[in-house]
Subunit: 290 residues, 2 copies
């Protein structure tokens, strides 16, 4: 296959990818592809890097069936894009709406859970070490802002992690949506636009299309970068607190009890910030999540 000559902008996107040092030479990678701008850029970038980095790519697309015909067209679009690139595609249909209704779960959460399960299953089956997701600097900033308005502490403000468990990686997390759109345009690449992205009744869309432009205009023209940096700061602090909490947690556990029982009188002697981290750790140890 003849590779087109590299454009300068692609080199820039590659630098963004390299920055997080998320992929290793020879990695087998599942790329999650919705068909939208971010994931199409990710797919194309990783495809371009494949010969240089000796990657082994496959794509994964889950049709959530939430937007009828439009959802099916997304799946077809991803299918033909992968065929063109010669990348094997794992595609599945999940009736997310029905599932959420049956289990009385929040639709967005349910969709997320089913999607991540699907991606991990594809990775297992294809023997991939990594799952690459197309989250961007803008997604990061939006998440930080939403969490801040909800009152999150440093753990919540850590927002989207660049790497989770060494498996999930987000190579575009340092890259703004503007840059991605420019990249797609210069390369002449197509992508699908999700019609629900314009619905201002959805909180994230209001943040993206209303709140952030207002804040950029009146308070901080570099808001996206600022908030993404705040997420990194928060992640450092949350990581430090957790490591400190872990090191005192053992000594605080009641020896007579085999569950998680913390000696409250000794917990009380700790600084407040550490107390809270220990309690979070205890809950996570018990329940597996927060």
């Amino acid at each position: 296959m003849k590779m087109p000559k590299l454009l300068p902008l692609e080199t820039e996107t590659e630098r963004t990818l390299v920055k997080y040092n998320m992929l290793l030479r020879g990695d087998s990678v599942v790329v999650a592809v919705s068909g939208g701008a971010d994931s199409m850029a990710l797919l194309h970038c990783l495809h371009r890097l494949t010969p240089r980095w000796d990657l082994k790519l496959c794509a994964a697309h889950l049709n959530h069936r939430l937007r009828g015909r439009e959802s099916d067209q997304d799946a077809e679009f991803v299918g033909s894009a992968c065929r063109e690139l010669g990348i094997p595609l794992h595609s599945e249909v999940a009736e997310v709406g029905q599932e959420a209704a049956a289990r009385k779960r929040n639709l967005e959460e349910m969709a997320r859970e089913i999607r991540y399960e699907f991606l991990r299953r594809v990775a297992r089956r294809s023997g991939a070490q990594k799952i690459a997701l197309g989250h961007t600097l803008n997604d990061q900033a939006e998440t930080v802002l939403i969490r801040f308005l909800r009152g999150s502490g440093s753990e919540g403000l850590s927002a989207i992690h660049p790497v989770v468990d060494g498996v999930i990686v987000r190579p575009l997390l340092g890259c703004s949506r503007d840059k991605i759109l420019k990249y797609l345009k210069i390369r002449g690449l197509c992508f699908r636009e999700d019609s629900s992205n314009r619905d201002l009744a959805i909180r994230r869309n209001r943040v993206r299309h209303e709140l952030i432009p207002y804040l950029e205009e009146h308070f901080n023209p570099r808001l996206i970068e600022t908030l993404a940096a705040s997420a990194e700061l928060a992640r450092e602090v949350a990581g430090y607190l957790e490591s400190q909490a872990t090191s005192v947690f053992g000594s605080l556990q009641n020896q007579e009890n085999r569950g998680v029982a913390v000696q409250v009188e000794r917990l009380r002697e700790l600084p407040r910030a550490l107390q809270k981290s220990v309690v979070r750790l205890a809950i996570r140890t018990c329940r597996g999540n927060l």
Copy 2:
């Protein structure tokens, strides 16, 4: 002097005052009074609590001379209010605008510096242990929001501290502006409105009159309380980080050097969050501030 019967709402305001446990029986207190709603409420509340708490009050007003005739009227208003209450008033005029221009300083910062110098001088002269300021829950939320949009970490997000050096106290910091206005209305108390408070070219006014109402409507109806709680969380974390940094700082200092020289190779081994706290501490040790 005959005290009017206590209304239930005043009791509530008192509880807010008591919550922070900032004033002790027998304390001599300088109350900073601009003539605006917050400081007038503070003055009246503390005046009411005087017999119960055995306080010794005096008021302090600095005429910044930034709004011409309006500034002078504020000073006159505060003067007559204090006379009516029988509270001694220390009043001064500072040509803040000229001072800032002469020293090429930011006007707001300069005004703040001159005002705090003035308050500390009044406290020294009158032998007062405390300086009480009228900052409210809304001031706290606004400050947290402004700092967040600027990218502050936990130290900056701590925003307005309820107590500084055991001298400056902010008894109304847990009390919303709404509550204060209701209190003033029920008591039939007057206050001055600063005409510049409506000027949307001033960042804080835009936050107060535009951004916060928008966020309350679309994201969090209890935003003020949420952000004030975030400030408290951040203060706990910043305090913990500082105490940890202090305990490693000594061991990191280079023994051959009498200034602040930190062993960089050992600093590098620390977790990132702690590294930054140590560097902040080193700068503060050198320069007295950040």
